[in-house]
Amino acid sequence: MAAPIKVFGPAMSTATARVLACLLESQLQFDLVPVDMSKGQHKKPEFLGIQPFGQVPAFQDEHISLFESRAICRYIVDKYTEKGKRGLLGMETLERASIEQWLEAESQSFNPPSSALVFQLAFAPRMKLKQDPNLIAQNEAKLSKVLDVYEQRLGDSRFLAGDEFTLADLSHLPNAQYLINATDRAALFTSRKNVNRWWEEISGRTSWKKVVEMQQTPLPSSSST
């Protein structure tokens, strides 16, 4: 029997949650191995051996060892999508190109300002760190511009890449979840009609609800769908 897939990282980390969402969407069994970041475990030599930048998550599937959440997600979808079935990366080149485009938009345009806001507004207070009002204002302005583009796109299209839920939509879940549910900036999303509709739909998926449940569970444990 093959060794189970292993994900190293806390469920509450946005990048780790991205991978968990993808595994659950793909209905794969996996072990979630805890990494105690408050004790600096992610900067210790054993962890740096599987993630040289000292960040979560890391991932192992048999003899393949990977990091970077979006790379892990693409690997999972490519390896485990049944031949002939439409997976989270689509079925043919044109579809995939559109999904890759919106995945990069998430990575390059949505992620930087939303990550900064998640840290400043959701994590810094918990960690008793001082917030930076300039940084908050700058990133809110950036994120607003990005969401204006999304508002227009989602007026023309049910999901970002087309009619189907894909990895491009999934990739947004972790940061958006925190912003909407753990800060007072939910209106960034909820005040935009199409963005709000899209959010309700993608966050209502069973797999995402399960990730949120895992984030709220104090002790990470072995998990199966």
Binding site: H63, I64, L66, E68, A71, Y75, T93, L94, A97, A105
Partner: protein, 216 residues
């Protein structure tokens, strides 16, 4: 009408990233210059090609795409058997291509782009002085990233494995420009394996052809 078109600017590293892929794949295309100084990238007709108002955009037949890294990936997939194979030659290597393209995007590019902006763009195009504190901060960050690259490239000829791939290619435009700044070039040349890798990838015929053609 040309089958493939790139809309961008020769001075844009992102545009050159997409063009580099087309050159490695030996694919013909038309280059349509977007007048960024006139703000053409923020208005129609360009904004319909990329609603984020950034170069490049890429058109193939009726389909248009933006984000240079997505464009290059799509080209590499669609034309798998043409020109250089850029996606890895084994399942393990292909998985690593995925990892190291993300590393370029999330670890390398942020500090590298800030250095590019402070050391080259600001003095050349805006005329404001370089912020030394920002330079120092990002040199340190980039140095740490290149330490990881040094360890990786000591074990692996290219970032994803034994073969040149998109993971290496995506670095070319920004490295090429940063090498023009002596203090930043030193970050690369002072690390033995990084230096060898930079020399290798920047001397590829497809890359030399791009540099000559666009005076990059």
């Amino acid at each position: 009408m040309a089958e493939r078109k790139v809309y961008g600017a020769p001075l844009s590293t992102a545009t050159m990233r997409a063009v580099a892929c087309l050159y490695e794949k030996d694919l013909d295309f038309e280059f349509v210059q977007v007048d960024m100084r006139a703000g053409a990238h923020k208005q129609e007709p360009f904004i319909s090609l990329n609603p984020f108002g950034q170069v490049p955009a890429y058109q193939e037949g009726d389909a248009t795409f933006f984000e240079s890294r997505a464009i290059s990936k799509s080209i590499a997939y669609k034309y798998l058997d043409k020109g250089t194979q850029l996606l890895g030659k084994s399942p393990e290597e292909s998985a690593q291509v995925g990892v190291w393209t993300e590393v370029e995007a999330h670890q390398f590019d942020p500090p590298a782009s800030k250095l590019l902006f402070e050391c080259l763009f600001k003095p050349k195009f805006i005329g404001t002085p370089t912020d030394e504190a920002v330079v120092a901060e990002n040199e340190a960050k980039l140095g740490k990233v290149l330490d990881v690259y040094e360890a990786r490239l000591a074990k692996s000829k290219y970032l994803a494995g034994p073969d040149f791939s998109l993971a290496d290619l995506h670095h070319l435009p920004v490295i090429h420009v940063l090498l023009k700044v002596p203090r930043v070039a030193a970050l690369f040349t002072s690390r033995e394996h990084v230096n060898a890798w930079v020399k290798d990838i920047t001397s590829r015929p497809a890359w030399r052809k791009l540099v000559d053609t666009y005076n990059f």
